[in-house]
Amino acid sequence: MENPDPMSRAAEQEPVGPVPPSAPDVAAPSSPAADAVDGSPQGFDIPVLEPDDDAPRVIQTDEGASDGLAKCSRCGATEISLNVATGNLRCNFCRFEWSAQSAADAFDLNGDIGKLAGVTMGSGSSDIVPSTDEVMTFKCSACGAEVLIDTASSTQARCHWCRNTLSMNQQVPNGAVPDMILPFKVAKETAIASINKFVQKRRFFAHPLFRAEFTPENVMGVYLPYMVVDINAHARLSGEGEHQTRSYTVKVGDSQQTRYDADLYDVVRDFDVHVSDLTVESSSERLDQITSQNANNIINTIMPFDVENAVRYDSNYMKGFTSERRDSNLDELSPIAFTQAEDITRHRVNSTLTFYDRGVRWTQQDVDVRGQRWVSAYLPVWLYSYQQRKSNGSTFLHYVAVNARTGETMGSVPIHQGKLLLVSGGVEVAGIIAAIVLTALGI
């Protein structure tokens, strides 16, 4: 094969941005060509095979979107918010309800993944330009005042003078306006009840300060940033598999031991794979899931979301909620997505390996990504946070999170270490006594 590791090469492709094809960083040190000459002097020209149709195809996802006053089409009011019960946007003056267009329809996301070639991406997934302002200034067209929108936490703000709501729906390269949004579906009361139930089941060893300060009513509705990825790939896995033919016992000294006979096979699987709606966090903070330092794995656990029901981005879905801005680009997220796609592929192939009841050991995995589509999304999470101050002065931010589409709930509850250690000590003593008694009785 001319390209032993297409995954990592695809990951290094600059999907957007004016990088000249001869730029030195295109031949990144981890490229397959560089690996192959490991140990030899670096710095000479390594030919980089770049497909001609390398430029990403961009789906313009904010066409017709406008910033400023987003008015109800019936009465002209700007008091528009999501009606969680119906999933529609509702004018809070005249009660008129409507919905944004389905993202799948608007951007043709339901097409055959097998037809994907090269990189396709929503315009709201483009690379973030670091110099882009985080706080955007808009002129209120109702009264002329200047209104600031802090895109780190929302794409909406209220005009302090005339009380109208201003929305930002056009994409600027700061990651604040995604291609699509999945509206909240689980009501706040339901989320509070789930969080309460989750914590009540974990009361006994919970830290007393947490028990005293736990207020599930403080839960926040937050839209977190993700990339939703479709992948069209060809894969060839090869390795060895073992099929058990016999098991029997042999006498070794005084004891009976089991022995196994098996047939060894060379195993090859060659196929196409379509991965649909693989969802990856797109904020560097949320991607950091080192559980000894943070509880971001809790938010990761409540996936998956029904992203197929996402709609075109409209800031009116944001009213009453906050958001976190995307800060990661395709070149940082591609390796994560491709490694996960390989996991998904390997997992699916297992259904063809049932004959190898002793297992399969893959020695070579060639996955050639032929097409990929990236769409950025805000997905809805009810998030209860609790900052634990430890006795050594450090802090740890705990979460109880509810998937605001499926209701799946997961959390981290601060532990009363002293109490847990004491009880565990008691259990240990009882266990040792039991072990001594059992030994004494000769069991």
Partner: protein, 101 residues
């Protein structure tokens, strides 16, 4: 297919028991000697859920097409003492973000 059901069941059992349970009788006594540590770990994970993550490998929709299998018999092996293949990696997950340290 019954064989696949059995394989799955065995696999689940191995996972449930933490991957390494001896079949011999000393296991019960061993558990008693570790009971305090086991209790601590059980409660720690029940409260902190530091072991939880999104199972992207099974919870993501994917379709395999045009599957071509080429399996060739190599040889028979006899008298092995382990019940599963050495270095089997078809269930391995490499793309998880969650790490302990």
């Amino acid at each position: 297919m019954t064989t696949s059901a059995i394989v799955t069941a065995v696999h689940d059992q191995v996972l449930a028991s933490g991957g390494s349970s001896g079949d011999d009788g000393g296991f019960v006594g061993f558990i008693f000697l570790l009971s305090g540590f086991a209790f601590y770990a059980l409660m720690y994970f029940r409260y902190r859920n530091a072991d939880k993550r999104h199972r992207h490998e099974s919870e993501t929709e994917a379709t395999l097409l045009n599957m071509k299998a080429e399996d060739t018999f190599v040889r028979s092996k006899t008298g092995m003492s382990n019940r599963t293949m050495n270095g089997a990696n078809s269930h391995e997950v490499r793309g998880a973000r969650k790490k302990f340290f």
